[in-house]
Protein backbone atom coordinates (compact mmCIF):
# COMPACT_ATOMS: atom_id res chain seq x y z
CA UNK A 1 0.00 0.00 0.00
CA UNK A 2 1.24 3.47 -0.84
CA UNK A 3 1.16 5.77 2.14
CA UNK A 4 0.57 9.30 0.93
CA UNK A 5 1.64 12.32 2.96
CA UNK A 6 -1.85 13.52 3.73
CA UNK A 7 -2.97 10.30 5.41
CA UNK A 8 -2.84 10.69 9.20
CA UNK A 9 -1.15 8.03 11.31
CA UNK A 10 -3.17 4.94 12.10
CA UNK A 11 -5.40 4.75 15.16
CA UNK A 12 -6.07 1.09 14.50
CA UNK A 13 -3.97 -1.43 12.59
CA UNK A 14 -4.86 -5.00 11.83
CA UNK A 15 -2.00 -7.26 10.81
CA UNK A 16 -2.27 -10.58 9.03
CA UNK A 17 -5.60 -11.42 10.61
CA UNK A 18 -6.97 -14.88 9.89
CA UNK A 19 -10.12 -16.27 11.39
CA UNK A 20 -11.56 -19.75 11.00
CA UNK A 21 -14.89 -20.90 12.32
CA UNK A 22 -14.27 -24.62 12.31
CA UNK A 23 -13.89 -25.43 8.62
CA UNK A 24 -15.15 -22.04 7.48
CA UNK A 25 -12.29 -19.72 6.68
CA UNK A 26 -13.86 -16.31 7.27
CA UNK A 27 -10.74 -14.11 7.02
CA UNK A 28 -7.31 -14.88 5.59
CA UNK A 29 -4.23 -12.81 6.19
CA UNK A 30 -6.02 -9.49 6.28
CA UNK A 31 -4.02 -6.33 6.97
CA UNK A 32 -5.53 -2.89 7.07
CA UNK A 33 -4.73 0.55 8.51
CA UNK A 34 -7.40 2.86 9.93
CA UNK A 35 -6.29 6.52 9.88
CA UNK A 36 -6.95 8.56 13.02
CA UNK A 37 -9.89 10.93 12.97
CA UNK A 38 -11.28 9.49 9.76
CA UNK A 39 -14.08 7.20 8.78
CA UNK A 40 -13.10 3.92 7.17
CA UNK A 41 -15.79 1.73 5.66
CA UNK A 42 -15.58 -2.02 5.34
CA UNK A 43 -17.60 -2.72 2.24
CA UNK A 44 -18.41 -6.12 0.85
CA UNK A 45 -21.17 -8.61 0.14
CA UNK A 46 -22.94 -10.42 2.96
CA UNK A 47 -20.94 -13.21 4.55
CA UNK A 48 -17.55 -11.87 3.54
CA UNK A 49 -16.43 -11.40 7.15
CA UNK A 50 -17.08 -7.71 7.87
CA UNK A 51 -18.73 -8.35 11.21
CA UNK A 52 -16.04 -10.87 12.08
CA UNK A 53 -13.30 -8.32 11.45
CA UNK A 54 -15.14 -5.62 13.42
CA UNK A 55 -15.64 -7.94 16.40
CA UNK A 56 -11.97 -8.92 16.31
CA UNK A 57 -11.05 -5.23 16.46
CA UNK A 58 -13.56 -4.80 19.31
CA UNK A 59 -11.87 -7.64 21.19
CA UNK A 60 -15.11 -9.64 21.22
CA UNK A 61 -13.60 -12.37 19.03
CA UNK A 62 -10.12 -13.84 19.03
CA UNK A 63 -8.45 -14.07 15.65
CA UNK A 64 -7.05 -17.47 14.74
CA UNK A 65 -3.83 -15.67 13.96
CA UNK A 66 -2.65 -12.11 13.49
CA UNK A 67 -2.92 -9.09 15.72
CA UNK A 68 -4.80 -5.84 16.21
CA UNK A 69 -3.24 -2.68 17.58
CA UNK A 70 -5.15 0.33 18.85
CA UNK A 71 -2.92 3.33 19.48
CA UNK A 72 0.08 1.02 19.42
CA UNK A 73 -1.41 -1.24 22.10
CA UNK A 74 -2.12 -4.89 21.32
CA UNK A 75 -5.80 -5.75 21.62
CA UNK A 76 -6.49 -8.67 23.94
CA UNK A 77 -10.14 -7.93 24.72
CA UNK A 78 -12.68 -5.13 24.83
CA UNK A 79 -11.25 -1.86 26.09
CA UNK A 80 -12.24 1.69 27.02
CA UNK A 81 -10.69 3.00 23.80
CA UNK A 82 -13.36 1.35 21.65
CA UNK A 83 -17.18 1.54 21.60
CA UNK A 84 -19.55 -0.55 19.51
CA UNK A 85 -22.78 0.26 17.69
CA UNK A 86 -24.71 -2.91 16.93
CA UNK A 87 -26.64 -3.81 13.81
CA UNK A 88 -29.62 -5.00 15.90
CA UNK A 89 -29.20 -2.11 18.40
CA UNK A 90 -28.71 -4.56 21.35
CA UNK A 91 -30.69 -2.36 23.74
CA UNK A 92 -31.91 -3.64 27.09
CA UNK A 93 -35.69 -3.78 26.69
CA UNK A 94 -36.37 -3.47 30.44
CA UNK A 95 -34.23 -0.34 30.78
CA UNK A 96 -35.24 3.22 29.94
CA UNK A 97 -33.44 5.24 27.28
CA UNK A 98 -31.52 6.92 30.10
CA UNK A 99 -30.35 3.62 31.57
CA UNK A 100 -29.49 2.19 28.18
CA UNK A 101 -27.42 5.20 27.21
CA UNK A 102 -25.63 5.32 30.56
CA UNK A 103 -24.98 1.54 30.58
CA UNK A 104 -21.38 1.86 29.42
CA UNK A 105 -20.67 4.51 32.05
CA UNK A 106 -22.35 2.37 34.70
CA UNK A 107 -20.01 -0.52 33.80
CA UNK A 108 -17.06 1.86 34.08
CA UNK A 109 -18.14 2.69 37.63
CA UNK A 110 -19.19 6.30 37.01
CA UNK A 111 -21.47 7.59 39.79
CA UNK A 112 -25.16 7.70 38.99
CA UNK A 113 -25.69 11.46 38.96
CA UNK A 114 -22.61 12.05 36.85
CA UNK A 115 -23.39 9.37 34.31
CA UNK A 116 -26.97 10.60 33.98
CA UNK A 117 -25.70 14.11 33.29
CA UNK A 118 -23.41 12.80 30.57
CA UNK A 119 -26.08 10.50 29.14
CA UNK A 120 -28.66 13.31 29.09
CA UNK A 121 -26.26 15.41 27.03
CA UNK A 122 -25.78 12.69 24.42
CA UNK A 123 -29.47 11.84 24.36
CA UNK A 124 -30.09 15.46 23.37
CA UNK A 125 -27.23 15.41 20.91
CA UNK A 126 -28.68 12.48 18.97
CA UNK A 127 -32.06 14.21 18.94
CA UNK A 128 -33.90 12.15 21.55
CA UNK A 129 -34.42 14.93 24.12
CA UNK A 130 -37.71 14.26 25.95
CA UNK A 131 -37.46 10.47 25.52
CA UNK A 132 -35.16 9.88 28.51
CA UNK A 133 -37.76 7.81 30.34
CA UNK A 134 -39.17 5.97 27.33
CA UNK A 135 -38.53 2.26 26.87
CA UNK A 136 -37.05 0.80 23.67
CA UNK A 137 -40.34 -0.81 22.61
CA UNK A 138 -41.92 2.64 22.56
CA UNK A 139 -39.40 3.88 19.99
CA UNK A 140 -39.14 3.44 16.23
CA UNK A 141 -36.21 1.55 14.73
CA UNK A 142 -34.42 4.76 13.86
CA UNK A 143 -34.84 6.11 17.37
CA UNK A 144 -33.55 2.85 18.84
CA UNK A 145 -30.39 3.12 16.82
CA UNK A 146 -30.01 6.70 18.06
CA UNK A 147 -30.05 5.25 21.56
CA UNK A 148 -27.34 2.78 20.52
CA UNK A 149 -25.32 5.61 19.07
CA UNK A 150 -25.72 7.78 22.18
CA UNK A 151 -24.60 4.84 24.33
CA UNK A 152 -21.45 4.46 22.23
CA UNK A 153 -20.73 8.20 22.21
CA UNK A 154 -21.26 8.67 25.94
CA UNK A 155 -18.28 6.50 26.93
CA UNK A 156 -16.09 8.84 24.90
CA UNK A 157 -14.00 6.12 23.26
CA UNK A 158 -11.53 7.19 20.57
CA UNK A 159 -12.60 4.48 18.17
CA UNK A 160 -16.23 3.94 17.20
CA UNK A 161 -17.04 0.56 15.67
CA UNK A 162 -20.32 0.51 13.78
CA UNK A 163 -21.74 -2.71 12.34
CA UNK A 164 -24.23 -1.87 9.59
CA UNK A 165 -25.86 0.58 12.00
CA UNK A 166 -28.36 1.91 9.48
CA UNK A 167 -29.39 -1.31 7.76
CA UNK A 168 -32.43 -1.87 9.97
CA UNK A 169 -33.92 1.60 9.55
CA UNK A 170 -36.03 2.97 6.72
CA UNK A 171 -34.54 4.79 3.74
CA UNK A 172 -35.44 8.34 4.78
CA UNK A 173 -34.12 7.81 8.30
CA UNK A 174 -30.99 6.24 6.84
CA UNK A 175 -30.26 9.33 4.75
CA UNK A 176 -30.68 11.55 7.78
CA UNK A 177 -28.36 9.27 9.74
CA UNK A 178 -25.74 9.42 7.01
CA UNK A 179 -25.78 13.22 7.06
CA UNK A 180 -25.58 13.24 10.86
CA UNK A 181 -22.68 10.78 10.70
CA UNK A 182 -20.70 13.17 8.49
CA UNK A 183 -21.25 15.85 11.13
CA UNK A 184 -20.07 13.50 13.87
CA UNK A 185 -16.88 12.60 12.01
CA UNK A 186 -16.11 16.30 11.61
CA UNK A 187 -16.91 17.36 15.15
CA UNK A 188 -16.08 14.41 17.38
CA UNK A 189 -12.44 13.85 16.52
CA UNK A 190 -12.87 10.09 16.70
CA UNK A 191 -11.83 7.25 14.42
CA UNK A 192 -14.83 5.55 12.87
CA UNK A 193 -14.86 2.02 11.49
CA UNK A 194 -18.09 1.55 9.65
CA UNK A 195 -19.40 -1.70 8.18
CA UNK A 196 -21.85 -1.54 5.34
CA UNK A 197 -22.95 -3.54 2.34
CA UNK A 198 -24.30 -0.47 0.57
CA UNK A 199 -21.94 0.96 -2.04
CA UNK A 200 -23.67 4.37 -2.08
CA UNK A 201 -23.60 4.60 1.70
CA UNK A 202 -19.90 3.74 1.84
CA UNK A 203 -18.97 6.32 -0.78
CA UNK A 204 -21.18 8.96 0.83
CA UNK A 205 -19.80 8.75 4.37
CA UNK A 206 -16.22 7.47 4.02
CA UNK A 207 -12.78 8.99 3.97
CA UNK A 208 -11.46 5.54 3.10
CA UNK A 209 -13.24 2.49 1.75
CA UNK A 210 -11.79 -1.00 2.11
CA UNK A 211 -13.46 -3.37 -0.32
CA UNK A 212 -13.53 -6.91 1.03
CA UNK A 213 -14.08 -9.86 -1.21
CA UNK A 214 -15.71 -13.08 -0.12
CA UNK A 215 -14.21 -16.01 1.54
CA UNK A 216 -11.63 -16.26 2.57
CA UNK A 217 -11.95 -12.55 2.88
CA UNK A 218 -9.12 -10.21 2.03
CA UNK A 219 -8.83 -6.55 1.13
CA UNK A 220 -9.35 -6.24 -2.59
CA UNK A 221 -8.90 -2.52 -2.94
CA UNK A 222 -8.68 0.67 -0.90
CA UNK A 223 -10.37 3.76 -2.22
CA UNK A 224 -10.03 7.23 -0.73
CA UNK A 225 -12.72 9.58 -2.01
CA UNK A 226 -11.43 13.10 -1.52
CA UNK A 227 -12.86 15.59 -3.97
CA UNK A 228 -16.44 15.99 -2.83
CA UNK A 229 -16.16 15.89 0.96
CA UNK A 230 -16.28 19.71 1.37
CA UNK A 231 -19.00 20.37 -1.14
CA UNK A 232 -21.82 20.13 1.40
CA UNK A 233 -24.07 17.19 2.23
CA UNK A 234 -26.64 18.19 -0.38
CA UNK A 235 -24.26 18.11 -3.31
CA UNK A 236 -22.36 14.89 -2.69
CA UNK A 237 -24.81 12.59 -4.40
CA UNK A 238 -24.65 14.69 -7.58
CA UNK A 239 -20.90 15.01 -7.67
CA UNK A 240 -19.25 13.32 -10.69
CA UNK A 241 -16.48 11.82 -8.55
CA UNK A 242 -19.08 10.32 -6.19
CA UNK A 243 -20.90 8.75 -9.13
CA UNK A 244 -17.67 7.49 -10.71
CA UNK A 245 -16.52 5.82 -7.51
CA UNK A 246 -19.92 4.14 -7.04
CA UNK A 247 -19.66 2.77 -10.59
CA UNK A 248 -16.08 1.68 -10.16
CA UNK A 249 -16.85 -0.24 -6.97
CA UNK A 250 -19.85 -1.90 -8.56
CA UNK A 251 -17.68 -2.94 -11.49
CA UNK A 252 -15.22 -4.70 -9.21
CA UNK A 253 -17.89 -6.31 -7.00
CA UNK A 254 -20.33 -7.48 -9.67
CA UNK A 255 -18.24 -10.50 -10.65
CA UNK A 256 -18.62 -11.82 -7.10
CA UNK A 257 -22.39 -11.54 -7.01
CA UNK A 258 -24.27 -14.42 -8.54
Amino acid sequence: MVVADDIPESAVSTRNISKNYGDVEALRDLSLEFPRGQLTSLLGPSGCGKTTLLKIIAGLLEPTSGEVEVNGQMVTGPGPDRAFVFQDFALLPWASVMRNVSFGLEMRGVAKSEREDIAARYIKEVGLGGFENAYPHELSGGMRQRVGLARALSVDAEVLLMDEPFSAVDEQTRRKFQEDLLGLVQNENKTFIFVTHSIEEAVYVSDQIAILLPRPSRVHEIIRPSGFRDKGVDNIRRDPEYLDIVDEIWASLRTYVE
Partner: protein, 262 residues
Protein backbone atom coordinates in the same frame (compact mmCIF):
# COMPACT_ATOMS: atom_id res chain seq x y z
CA UNK B 1 -49.06 11.57 28.49
CA UNK B 2 -51.98 10.53 26.33
CA UNK B 3 -50.50 7.07 26.08
CA UNK B 4 -50.24 6.69 29.85
CA UNK B 5 -53.88 7.77 30.20
CA UNK B 6 -54.82 5.23 27.60
CA UNK B 7 -52.79 2.59 29.40
CA UNK B 8 -54.52 3.25 32.72
CA UNK B 9 -57.91 3.02 31.05
CA UNK B 10 -56.81 -0.28 29.51
CA UNK B 11 -55.82 -1.40 33.00
CA UNK B 12 -59.22 -0.50 34.40
CA UNK B 13 -60.81 -2.43 31.58
CA UNK B 14 -58.65 -5.46 32.31
CA UNK B 15 -59.65 -5.35 35.99
CA UNK B 16 -63.30 -4.92 35.05
CA UNK B 17 -63.04 -7.97 32.83
CA UNK B 18 -61.54 -10.00 35.67
CA UNK B 19 -64.40 -9.03 37.98
CA UNK B 20 -66.95 -9.74 35.26
CA UNK B 21 -65.56 -13.21 34.56
CA UNK B 22 -65.53 -13.98 38.30
CA UNK B 23 -69.20 -12.90 38.52
CA UNK B 24 -70.14 -15.11 35.58
CA UNK B 25 -68.28 -18.05 37.14
CA UNK B 26 -70.00 -17.58 40.52
CA UNK B 27 -73.38 -17.15 38.82
CA UNK B 28 -72.91 -20.37 36.89
CA UNK B 29 -71.87 -22.11 40.09
CA UNK B 30 -74.99 -20.83 41.89
CA UNK B 31 -77.27 -22.01 39.07
CA UNK B 32 -75.53 -25.39 38.84
CA UNK B 33 -75.94 -25.80 42.60
CA UNK B 34 -79.65 -24.97 42.43
CA UNK B 35 -80.55 -27.38 39.62
CA UNK B 36 -78.71 -29.33 41.30
CA UNK B 37 -76.07 -30.97 39.15
CA UNK B 38 -75.35 -33.45 41.93
CA UNK B 39 -76.53 -33.79 45.51
CA UNK B 40 -72.91 -33.38 46.55
CA UNK B 41 -72.64 -30.01 44.79
CA UNK B 42 -73.74 -27.07 46.93
CA UNK B 43 -74.68 -23.62 45.64
CA UNK B 44 -72.23 -20.74 45.65
CA UNK B 45 -74.13 -18.95 48.43
CA UNK B 46 -74.28 -22.03 50.65
CA UNK B 47 -70.56 -22.49 50.22
CA UNK B 48 -69.88 -18.84 51.00
CA UNK B 49 -71.95 -18.94 54.17
CA UNK B 50 -70.07 -22.10 55.21
CA UNK B 51 -66.85 -20.21 54.51
CA UNK B 52 -67.89 -17.28 56.68
CA UNK B 53 -69.04 -19.64 59.43
CA UNK B 54 -65.63 -21.33 59.44
CA UNK B 55 -63.93 -17.97 59.38
CA UNK B 56 -65.94 -16.76 62.38
CA UNK B 57 -65.53 -19.83 64.54
CA UNK B 58 -61.81 -19.90 63.79
CA UNK B 59 -61.54 -23.34 62.15
CA UNK B 60 -60.43 -21.78 58.88
CA UNK B 61 -57.58 -19.81 60.42
CA UNK B 62 -56.43 -22.77 62.48
CA UNK B 63 -56.47 -24.88 59.32
CA UNK B 64 -54.41 -22.34 57.37
CA UNK B 65 -52.03 -22.11 60.29
CA UNK B 66 -51.16 -25.72 59.53
CA UNK B 67 -51.46 -25.77 55.75
CA UNK B 68 -49.37 -22.66 55.24
CA UNK B 69 -46.36 -24.15 57.03
CA UNK B 70 -45.36 -26.73 54.39
CA UNK B 71 -46.69 -24.46 51.66
CA UNK B 72 -44.67 -21.37 52.59
CA UNK B 73 -41.53 -23.31 53.48
CA UNK B 74 -41.76 -25.48 50.35
CA UNK B 75 -42.53 -22.60 48.01
CA UNK B 76 -39.76 -20.47 49.50
CA UNK B 77 -37.21 -23.29 49.16
CA UNK B 78 -38.39 -24.07 45.64
CA UNK B 79 -38.24 -20.45 44.54
CA UNK B 80 -34.82 -19.60 46.00
CA UNK B 81 -33.13 -22.93 45.33
CA UNK B 82 -34.98 -23.42 42.05
CA UNK B 83 -33.88 -20.09 40.60
CA UNK B 84 -30.32 -20.53 41.89
CA UNK B 85 -29.99 -24.05 40.46
CA UNK B 86 -31.71 -22.91 37.27
CA UNK B 87 -29.18 -20.11 36.84
CA UNK B 88 -26.32 -22.54 37.31
CA UNK B 89 -27.79 -25.10 34.98
CA UNK B 90 -28.39 -22.43 32.36
CA UNK B 91 -24.92 -20.93 32.65
CA UNK B 92 -22.80 -24.06 32.83
CA UNK B 93 -22.91 -27.12 30.63
CA UNK B 94 -21.52 -29.19 33.47
CA UNK B 95 -24.37 -28.30 35.85
CA UNK B 96 -26.79 -28.84 33.01
CA UNK B 97 -25.45 -32.36 32.59
CA UNK B 98 -25.49 -32.94 36.35
CA UNK B 99 -28.88 -31.55 37.33
CA UNK B 100 -31.23 -31.36 34.36
CA UNK B 101 -32.06 -35.09 34.30
CA UNK B 102 -33.02 -35.01 37.99
CA UNK B 103 -35.55 -32.25 37.46
CA UNK B 104 -36.91 -33.71 34.25
CA UNK B 105 -37.52 -36.99 36.10
CA UNK B 106 -39.01 -35.09 39.05
CA UNK B 107 -41.36 -33.26 36.73
CA UNK B 108 -42.48 -36.46 35.03
CA UNK B 109 -42.73 -38.61 38.18
CA UNK B 110 -46.24 -39.53 39.35
CA UNK B 111 -46.22 -37.88 42.75
CA UNK B 112 -48.89 -40.09 44.28
CA UNK B 113 -46.60 -43.07 43.77
CA UNK B 114 -43.69 -41.29 45.45
CA UNK B 115 -45.57 -40.24 48.57
CA UNK B 116 -45.39 -43.66 50.28
CA UNK B 117 -41.63 -43.64 49.72
CA UNK B 118 -41.32 -40.17 51.22
CA UNK B 119 -43.37 -41.21 54.25
CA UNK B 120 -41.19 -44.26 54.65
CA UNK B 121 -38.05 -42.15 54.59
CA UNK B 122 -39.15 -38.97 56.39
CA UNK B 123 -42.24 -39.94 58.38
CA UNK B 124 -45.57 -38.15 58.35
CA UNK B 125 -44.35 -34.81 59.67
CA UNK B 126 -43.63 -31.46 58.14
CA UNK B 127 -40.55 -32.70 56.25
CA UNK B 128 -42.51 -35.04 54.00
CA UNK B 129 -45.09 -32.37 53.26
CA UNK B 130 -42.47 -29.77 52.46
CA UNK B 131 -40.82 -32.28 50.13
CA UNK B 132 -44.11 -32.91 48.34
CA UNK B 133 -44.50 -29.16 47.79
CA UNK B 134 -40.92 -28.95 46.52
CA UNK B 135 -41.28 -31.90 44.16
CA UNK B 136 -44.34 -30.22 42.70
CA UNK B 137 -42.97 -26.68 42.54
CA UNK B 138 -39.25 -26.90 41.90
CA UNK B 139 -38.81 -28.66 38.54
CA UNK B 140 -40.74 -26.15 36.47
CA UNK B 141 -38.93 -23.27 38.23
CA UNK B 142 -35.51 -24.83 37.57
CA UNK B 143 -36.24 -25.83 33.98
CA UNK B 144 -37.83 -22.47 33.07
CA UNK B 145 -34.99 -20.51 34.64
CA UNK B 146 -32.33 -22.63 32.93
CA UNK B 147 -34.06 -22.39 29.56
CA UNK B 148 -34.48 -18.64 29.84
CA UNK B 149 -30.85 -18.13 30.84
CA UNK B 150 -29.65 -20.29 27.97
CA UNK B 151 -31.76 -18.26 25.55
CA UNK B 152 -30.39 -14.85 26.53
CA UNK B 153 -29.83 -13.08 23.20
CA UNK B 154 -26.15 -13.45 22.34
CA UNK B 155 -26.04 -9.88 21.07
CA UNK B 156 -27.06 -8.50 24.49
CA UNK B 157 -24.29 -10.39 26.25
CA UNK B 158 -21.87 -9.25 23.57
CA UNK B 159 -23.04 -5.67 24.11
CA UNK B 160 -22.28 -6.05 27.81
CA UNK B 161 -18.76 -7.27 27.10
CA UNK B 162 -18.16 -4.54 24.52
CA UNK B 163 -19.06 -1.95 27.15
CA UNK B 164 -16.68 -3.57 29.67
CA UNK B 165 -19.18 -5.37 31.89
CA UNK B 166 -17.56 -7.99 34.16
CA UNK B 167 -18.87 -11.56 33.97
CA UNK B 168 -20.83 -10.94 37.17
CA UNK B 169 -22.33 -7.74 35.77
CA UNK B 170 -23.33 -9.56 32.60
CA UNK B 171 -25.21 -12.10 34.73
CA UNK B 172 -26.77 -9.56 37.10
CA UNK B 173 -27.55 -6.74 34.67
CA UNK B 174 -28.26 -8.63 31.47
CA UNK B 175 -28.85 -12.38 31.81
CA UNK B 176 -31.18 -12.29 34.82
CA UNK B 177 -33.33 -9.33 33.73
CA UNK B 178 -33.56 -10.78 30.21
CA UNK B 179 -34.64 -14.13 31.63
CA UNK B 180 -37.02 -12.62 34.19
CA UNK B 181 -40.29 -12.92 32.21
CA UNK B 182 -39.73 -16.65 31.75
CA UNK B 183 -38.40 -17.05 35.30
CA UNK B 184 -41.55 -15.38 36.60
CA UNK B 185 -43.70 -17.57 34.38
CA UNK B 186 -41.92 -20.58 35.90
CA UNK B 187 -42.49 -19.17 39.38
CA UNK B 188 -46.19 -18.77 38.67
CA UNK B 189 -46.49 -22.35 37.42
CA UNK B 190 -44.30 -23.65 40.24
CA UNK B 191 -46.23 -21.87 42.95
CA UNK B 192 -49.58 -23.07 41.58
CA UNK B 193 -48.16 -26.57 41.60
CA UNK B 194 -46.91 -25.96 45.14
CA UNK B 195 -50.48 -25.18 46.27
CA UNK B 196 -51.63 -28.43 44.71
CA UNK B 197 -48.74 -30.22 46.42
CA UNK B 198 -49.62 -28.78 49.84
CA UNK B 199 -53.23 -29.97 49.61
CA UNK B 200 -52.20 -33.29 48.10
CA UNK B 201 -49.81 -33.83 51.00
CA UNK B 202 -52.62 -33.19 53.47
CA UNK B 203 -54.94 -35.55 51.65
CA UNK B 204 -52.41 -38.35 51.14
CA UNK B 205 -50.06 -38.21 54.13
CA UNK B 206 -52.04 -37.13 57.20
CA UNK B 207 -55.19 -35.04 57.15
CA UNK B 208 -54.26 -31.68 58.66
CA UNK B 209 -55.24 -28.09 57.97
CA UNK B 210 -57.32 -27.39 54.89
CA UNK B 211 -56.90 -30.98 53.70
CA UNK B 212 -58.45 -32.09 56.98
CA UNK B 213 -61.48 -29.81 56.47
CA UNK B 214 -61.94 -31.28 52.99
CA UNK B 215 -61.62 -34.90 54.13
CA UNK B 216 -63.69 -34.46 57.28
CA UNK B 217 -66.56 -32.46 55.78
CA UNK B 218 -66.80 -34.95 52.92
CA UNK B 219 -67.00 -37.83 55.39
CA UNK B 220 -69.98 -36.19 57.16
CA UNK B 221 -71.52 -35.01 53.85
CA UNK B 222 -71.09 -31.33 54.78
CA UNK B 223 -70.49 -30.40 51.16
CA UNK B 224 -70.78 -26.62 51.56
CA UNK B 225 -67.82 -26.68 53.99
CA UNK B 226 -65.85 -28.93 51.68
CA UNK B 227 -66.35 -26.62 48.72
CA UNK B 228 -65.69 -23.59 50.94
CA UNK B 229 -62.30 -25.03 51.84
CA UNK B 230 -61.47 -25.80 48.21
CA UNK B 231 -62.65 -22.34 47.17
CA UNK B 232 -60.52 -20.65 49.83
CA UNK B 233 -57.32 -22.36 48.73
CA UNK B 234 -57.95 -21.46 45.08
CA UNK B 235 -58.70 -17.86 46.10
CA UNK B 236 -55.46 -17.72 48.06
CA UNK B 237 -53.51 -19.08 45.09
CA UNK B 238 -55.07 -16.55 42.72
CA UNK B 239 -54.39 -13.65 45.09
CA UNK B 240 -50.81 -14.76 45.54
CA UNK B 241 -50.21 -15.11 41.81
CA UNK B 242 -51.64 -11.63 41.25
CA UNK B 243 -49.29 -10.25 43.86
CA UNK B 244 -46.40 -11.94 42.05
CA UNK B 245 -47.49 -10.42 38.76
CA UNK B 246 -47.58 -6.94 40.34
CA UNK B 247 -44.09 -7.46 41.76
CA UNK B 248 -42.80 -8.40 38.33
CA UNK B 249 -44.45 -5.39 36.71
CA UNK B 250 -42.79 -3.06 39.21
CA UNK B 251 -39.37 -4.70 38.94
CA UNK B 252 -39.12 -4.95 35.15
CA UNK B 253 -41.26 -2.23 33.66
CA UNK B 254 -39.94 -2.26 30.11
CA UNK B 255 -40.39 -6.01 29.77
CA UNK B 256 -44.14 -5.54 29.55
CA UNK B 257 -44.69 -5.08 25.92
CA UNK B 258 -48.46 -5.43 25.85
CA UNK B 259 -50.48 -3.02 23.71
CA UNK B 260 -47.47 -1.30 22.19
CA UNK B 261 -46.79 -2.19 18.60
CA UNK B 262 -43.23 -3.09 17.77
Amino acid sequence: MASSLWKSSMMKRANLLKILSALILFGAWEIAGRIPVSLAFPTFLESMSALFAMAFDGTLWAAYGETLQPLVVGVAISAVLGIAIGLWVGLSDFFDWLFSPIFIVMQAAPLAALIPLLVLAYGIGLTSKVLVVCIMAMPVIVLNTAGAVRNTPESMKEMGKAFLASDLSVILKIVIPAASPVIFAGLRLGISAGFIGAILAELKITPTGVGDIITYSRSIADYPSMYAAIFSIILLAVLFLNLLEKTEAVLFKGNQRGYVSD
